[in-house]
Amino acid sequence: MVASRRSITEPLVSVAMVTGVALIAGLIWQLAIDRFDLPKALLPTPRQCWAAVMSHRGTLLRGIIGTGFAAVAGLIAAVILGSLLAILFSQSKKLRLALFPYVVLLQTVPIVAIAPLLIIWSGYRFRTVIIVTVIVCFFPIVNSVTAGLLSASREASDLFRLYGANRWQRLWRLQIPSAIPHLMVGVRTSSGLAVIGAIVAEFFIGDATSDPGLGTLMMGWQALMKTDALIAAVFASALLGLVIYGVIQLLTGFLLKRWTSA
C-alpha cells in the first residue's frame, strides 16, 4: 500500500537528514577546538565526549530510565487529570469561567519557583519529581482537550439535539471523538515539557534517590567540572526526549487512524 510505504520511508529520510546535520555540527565543533586550542575542561572534543558516553553508559542508561519513567508517569497522570478537568469544563461554562484562569496561572508561574515549595511539602523523593512533571504538563493538556471538546460545529450539535441526545450521548459520541486529535496535539507539546520538568525537579532533589536521574547526574558532574560527562548527559536527555516524542508520534498515528487514514 502506497500510504503505509510513505509513512515508513518519510521518517527514514528525515532521520538521514538529521544525522547529516549532526555530523556537520560535530566537524565544526572539532575544527573550533583545533583552531582555538580550547582546554578540555571548557570544551572537550566530540571524541572525548563519546568516550565519556561509553565509560558512563550504565549510569547514563539508568539515568535515562529513571528520568524517563518520571516524565512518562507525570505525562500520563497529566493526561488523565487534565482530560477529566477538561470534561468538567466542557460541561459547565460557569466552572470553566471560574477555574480556567487558575489553570493558566499554573502555567505562568515558573516551575523553578514552585519546585522548592513542592520539596518542602512532598519531600526529597521520587514522588516529587512526578508531581513537578504533572504540573508542567497539565496546562497544554487541559487547554487543548477543552478546546477539542468544544470544537463541534453548530450543525453537529443541532444534529444531536434533533435526536434528543442527552448530555452523556453528546459527550461520548460527539465531544470526546472531536477532542481526540486535539488531545494528541496537547500530548505532543507536553512530552517535551515532561522531560524538562523531570530534570528540573531532579536538580532540586539532588542525590536523594538511590538511582540518580539525568538531572542529578548533571548536578554532580557540574560540581566536579567533568565537562565531557556533562555533555554526554545533555545528549542522553535529548535522546530521552526524542524517544518519548517518537513513541507519541507512533501512538498518535495508531489512535487517529479513524480521523486521518486515507
Binding site: E155, D158, L162, G164
Partner: protein
C-alpha cells in the same frame, strides 16, 4: 441513475394567481386519495403529519424579527419549498419546525402530533455534517443509536437505506473518502433512517453542481414516493423549488408573502423545464420574489 417518475393523485392544477392570499389555501380535503391505491400502504398513509405554523414569530436579541407572524400549513405527505432572499428568515422558520429554535410567539404543531426528538422530524443540513471519525454506515446509524432503536434493527435499516441512495459499495468509507454528492447522499440517508414523518431540508444541494443537484432532486422524489413524508425545503434555486414541490412559499423580511400552488403536472420530469407552464410559473415565482422591493 434510473429515475422512476411519480404520479400525484391530485390532478387539479391551481393557477398562479397574483391575488392569491397566504391563508386562503388548504381546504385540500384528502391527503392521499384512494386512487393512489397500491402505491401506498395504509401504514404509510397514516405516518405523515401535516405541519401547522400559527402566527409564528422569532425575535432575536436586539429586537430583529427573523420570522414575523407566519401562518403556514403544509399538508401531510406534501413537499413545499421556502424560497426568498438571504436573511429573509427561511432557515429560522425551518429550525423552528425542527424544534431547534424556540418561537417567541405563536406555535408549530404537527397533526397528528408526534413526540419531538425521536427521529420523527429529520433535518438535512446545507453541509453534509457527517462525523469524520465514522464511516458512511456508522454515520447513518447515529440517529438510531441516539433514539434507542432496537439494536438488531439498526444495521439492516441503515444498510438498506444506503443501498437505496446508491451507496452500497461505499458503506465502509470515511467521509473524507467520499465525493460531495456522495456525502450528501449519506446525509439524506441519515435523515431518513429513522423513517421520519417530516423531512426538513436546509438548502441541501446548494453546494453541489447542477448535474448533481438535479440527480439528488430526483433521488429525493424517489424517496418521497416510497416514504411519503411531509417535506419542507429551503432553497435559493427557483427551478428546484418548482420542480420538486407541490407548493412554493415565498418569504420576504421574515414574512410569508405568498404560498403558490404548483401547477406543474405529476409525474415530474426534467423535461418539464422546457414547457411553457414551467416558464410561466417560474416567472410568477420570480415576480413574487421581487415583490415589495
Amino acid at each position: 441513475m434510473v429515475s422512476r417518475w411519480f404520479t400525484r393523485p391530485n390532478t387539479k392544477r391551481p393557477r398562479c394567481n397574483p391575488q392569491q392570499k397566504t391563508h386562503r389555501r388548504h381546504q385540500r380535503p384528502t391527503i392521499f386519495p384512494s386512487r393512489l391505491g397500491e402505491a401506498l400502504s395504509a401504514d404509510i398513509e397514516q405516518r405523515a403529519s401535516s405541519i401547522h405554523c400559527r402566527s409564528l414569530s422569532v425575535a432575536f436579541a436586539g429586537g430583529v424579527k427573523a420570522v414575523d407572524a407566519v401562518d403556514l400549513t403544509v399538508g401531510a405527505g406534501e413537499i413545499i419549498s421556502l424560497i426568498g432572499p438571504s436573511g429573509c428568515g427561511k432557515t429560522t422558520l425551518l429550525r423552528c419546525m425542527a424544534g431547534l429554535q424556540a418561537a417567541s410567539d405563536g406555535e408549530v404543531t404537527l397533526d397528528p402530533p408526534v413526540p419531538a426528538n425521536h427521529g420523527n422530524i429529520s433535518l438535512v443540513f446545507q453541509q453534509p455534517t457527517l462525523l469524520p471519525w465514522r464511516t458512511a454506515l456508522e454515520n447513518v446509524l447515529l440517529p438510531l443509536q441516539l433514539t434507542q432503536c432496537p439494536k438488531q434493527e439498526r444495521r439492516t435499516r441503515a444498510e438498506s437505506l444506503l443501498e437505496t441512495v446508491g451507496l452500497a459499495h461505499a458503506m465502509d468509507r470515511f467521509p473524507r473518502q467520499l465525493s460531495g454528492g456522495m456525502k450528501m447522499r449519506v446525509s439524506i440517508a441519515r435523515a431518513l433512517v429513522t423513517r421520519p414523518q417530516v423531512l426538513l431540508l436546509d438548502e441541501p444541494f446548494a453546494a453541489l453542481d447542477d448535474m448533481l443537484r438535479s440527480q439528488l432532486g430526483e433521488l429525493l422524489l424517489e424517496l418521497w414516493q416510497a416514504e411519503r413524508f411531509t417535506a419542507v425545503m429551503v432553497t435559493h434555486n427557483i427551478a428546484e423549488s418548482i420542480l420538486l414541490t407541490h407548493q412554493v412559499a415565498v418569504m420576504q423580511h421574515g414574512k410569508l408573502v405568498n404560498v403558490l400552488d404548483n401547477p406543474l403536472p405529476w409525474p415530474r420530469d426534467p423535461e418539464l423545464r422546457t414547457t411553457p407552464e414551467f416558464g410561466k410559473f417560474y416567472g410568477c415565482v420570480t415576480q413574487r420574489l421581487k415583490g415589495d422591493d
